[in-house]
């Protein structure tokens, strides 16, 4: 198996724009500094062809930013994203059409004034995948593929339900004939019964088209269902990486373990006393992350070493990496 998507040393720092007053003050020699936010730190990853990598974590962990860096939407502050050995971006601009993205909110990602057929055809025409004359048939093909009536191409987004809009967004991404599909929370805003339909569509298309996917979600049960491997992020770093079943069954990082324990489970026995194992506290601000291991203030296993020394992401078993000083003992339970 060769690596298809490779990320090495990816960093992404956002520097807030200074307000006018602050800029004037800076000109005048005052020590004004915008505090940068390190959204993604030192991420190295690879995804093999045909594989689906799940990316999970809570709000603000940097999973969407990392997804956008992979998709060539945001230039990384350091490091490079290679697709099949070729860079995805050059000089801050995306130079490949082989990566496409499906976003969470199909209400926001479709132009409300554009017919949905035109929205799907726009990219393929611009990149010569179809001609203006052939666009109708081309779009109809993709509509049928994602389970939409091809006659609906002349309608506008507001005429569709949330689930249908997400199908349109998927058709638009796939019409570019990508090799890599980045799905950023594609089912988060959908009802349970519609969510199941979209997940099934995703599974079917992935198999039929041989897609490589990165599936970003905060919903652990969805990620478990669709991913071959999973990466868990916390405050901009990957803290655990491995085959989905192994990570879910025997988490090696205390954060993964706690996250899995806080997912509510279906209770089928009225006598069962439901207890929630909760993680204390909240995710710290990325503006001032804790010293040492970022998770130590909330970690039940934190030792002195964790407060000062940041654990590196290291291999703890074949195909299994974790960033915890005590990963081996955590994985054993």
């Amino acid at each position: 198996m060769t690596d298809f998507l490779t990320l090495a040393g990816i960093e992404k720092t956002f520097r807030p724009q200074l307000a006018l007053g602050e800029r004037i003050a800076a000109r005048l020699g005052a020590a004004v500094e915008a505090r940068p936010v390190q959204a993604v730190s030192d991420v190295g990853l690879s995804v093999t062809r045909g594989e689906t990598l799940g990316l999970v974590g809570e709000s603000g962990c940097g999973k969407s930013t990392l997804g956008r860096v992979m998709a060539g939407i945001l230039p990384p502050s350091a490091g490079e994203v290679l697709l099949d050995g070729m860079p995805v971006m050059r000089k801050g601009a995306k130079i490949t059409t082989r990566v496409q993205t499906v976003f969470q909110d199909p209400f926001a990602s479709l132009d409300p004034r554009m017919k949905v057929g035109d929205a799907v055809a726009e990219g393929p025409i611009a990149h010569g995948l179809t001609t203006r004359a052939g666009a109708g048939a081309y779009v109809a093909g993709w509509f049928a593929r994602v389970g939409l009536d091809p006659d609906w191409a002349g309608r506008h987004p507001h005429q569709f339900s949330g689930g249908q809009r997400q199908r349109i967004a998927i058709a638009r991404a796939l019409a570019m004939q990508p090799d890599l599909l980045i799905c950023d929370e594609p089912v988060a805003s959908l009802d349970v019964s519609i969510q199941a339909q979209i997940i099934n569509l995703f599974l079917e298309l992935r198999r039929d088209l041989g897609l490589t996917c990165v599936f970003i979600s905060h919903d652990l049960s969805v990620v478990r269902h669709v991913s071959d491997r999973v990466a868990v992020m916390y405050l901009g770093r990957i803290v655990e990486l491995g085959r989905t079943g192994e990570v879910f069954d025997r988490p090696a990082h205390p954060y993964t373990r706690a996250l899995l324990a806080s997912v509510p489970k279906l209770v089928l026995d009225a006598e069962e006393l439901v207890t929630f194992e909760t993680i204390d506290g909240e995710v710290p601000s990325p503006l001032s992350p804790p010293s040492g291991c970022h998770f130590h203030p909330r970690c039940p296993l934190a030792a002195d070493r964790c407060r000062t020394e940041r654990p590196a992401l290291r291999a703890i078993a074949p195909g299994r990496e974790a960033a915890c000083h005590f990963a081996e003992s955590v994985a054993q339970g």
């Binding site: 009802d191 019964s193 997940i199 049960s221 079943g245 026995d269 909240e282």
Partner: protein
């Protein structure tokens, strides 16, 4: 078991230009002191409108067209706005999904809590402050007294929701309507809040109606469950029993479509189609067009069948033999 809330045949309809939307159409249930009742359904099933109806917060073009809501024995339907205001927040309160939208960004938390307090009680400044700080502590906000001077934007999403919960608890209401209060939160924060809400309900004796689309969340809190579809309750009963042995094909379909119900990577069982528009409900059973068990009898709208503390609105219910083993 003292009954604190009894709803009978409640109908809340919206008279729009396009027609009458029967958002809630014949809802009945009762709630005992300290009980947590789960109300689940998908978007447009009428669960939020139910919550709004209980507090008399339905705005035009919607209104409660018939039915009865009795809170501690008092009829709320038809009560004057003035009378309703005297009860809202004191006897029944609501927690919403989005605390950013419900808190005033221009006022400090202390001032907002004080306003809610003053609505029903005259307390001195010191006493009011102490009461607010006590409640904030109770919902898990550290250094509560100092936080009274903070503004909503200085809190995280989870902390903001805790503030909203504290406000809902201020007057020790007998009923709290919680409308998807943890949906916008991360799982680790959700777990903290669920656990706390359950304890608070137990301590204060407040009954709770927990509205959610998440069956797992509801199953870990509620002792009884109502499943809504297209404005009506299609199934009700003790939570664990309904989830273990659903009678209505819609409840069964919802359960089967959860990713956890299938092996990883395998297609999920799906309920075909989408929720019908309430403007053009099919005649007969509204779930029939999506139902695998549909038969001729489904052309007439089914009534609620009740037996052994459970109820289902289906002419061809699943039975234990067909459903999942108990």
């Amino acid at each position: 078991m003292t009954e604190v809330l009894r709803v009978d045949d409640l109908r809340t309809h919206f008279h729009t230009r396009a027609g009458v939307v029967k958002a809630v159409d014949g809802l009945s249930f009762s709630l005992a002191k300290g009980e947590i009742l789960g109300l689940v359904g998908e978007s447009g099933s009428g669960k939020t409108v139910t919550g709004f109806s209980l507090l008399g917060l339905v705005d035009a073009p919607g209104r409660i067209v018939s039915g009865s809501i009795r809170l501690n024995g008092e009829e709320l339907v038809g009560m004057s706005e003035r009378e309703l205001r005297r009860r809202r927040g004191r006897d029944i309160s609501m927690i919403f999904q989005d605390p950013i939208a419900t808190l005033n960004p221009m006022l400090s938390i202390g001032v907002q809590m004080r306003l809610a307090l003053d609505a029903h009680e005259r307390l001195g400044r010191k006493a009011a402050e102490a009461r607010c700080a006590e409640l904030l502590t109770r919902v898990g906000i550290p250094s509560a007294r100092a936080r009274l001077n903070a503004y909503p934007h200085e809190f995280s999403g989870g902390m903001r929701q805790r503030v909203a919960i504290a406000i809902a608890l201020l007057h020790g209401p007998s009923v709290i309507v919680a409308d998807e209060p943890t949906t916008a939160l991360d799982v680790s924060i959700q777990a903290q809040i669920l656990w706390q809400m359950r304890d608070l309900a137990r301590e204060t004796g407040a009954a709770m109606i927990w509205i959610s689309h998440d069956l797992a969340v509801v199953s870990s809190l509620a002792s009884r469950l109502l499943v809504m579809y297209a404005g009506r309750v299609v199934e009700e009963g003790p939570t664990a029993q309904v989830l273990r042995d659903p009678r209505h094909p819609y409840s069964a379909g919802l359960l089967a479509s959860l990713p956890a119900a299938s092996r990883p990577g395998m297609p999920l069982a799906q309920v075909p189609g989408t929720t019908p528009s309430l403007l053009s409900l099919p005649p007969g059973c509204p779930f029939a067009p999506r139902c695998a068990r549909v038969a001729e009898v489904c052309a007439t709208a089914p009534e609620m069948t009740r037996a052994e503390g459970r109820g289902w609105r289906c002419a061809r219910p699943l039975s234990r033999e067909i459903g999942a083993p108990a």
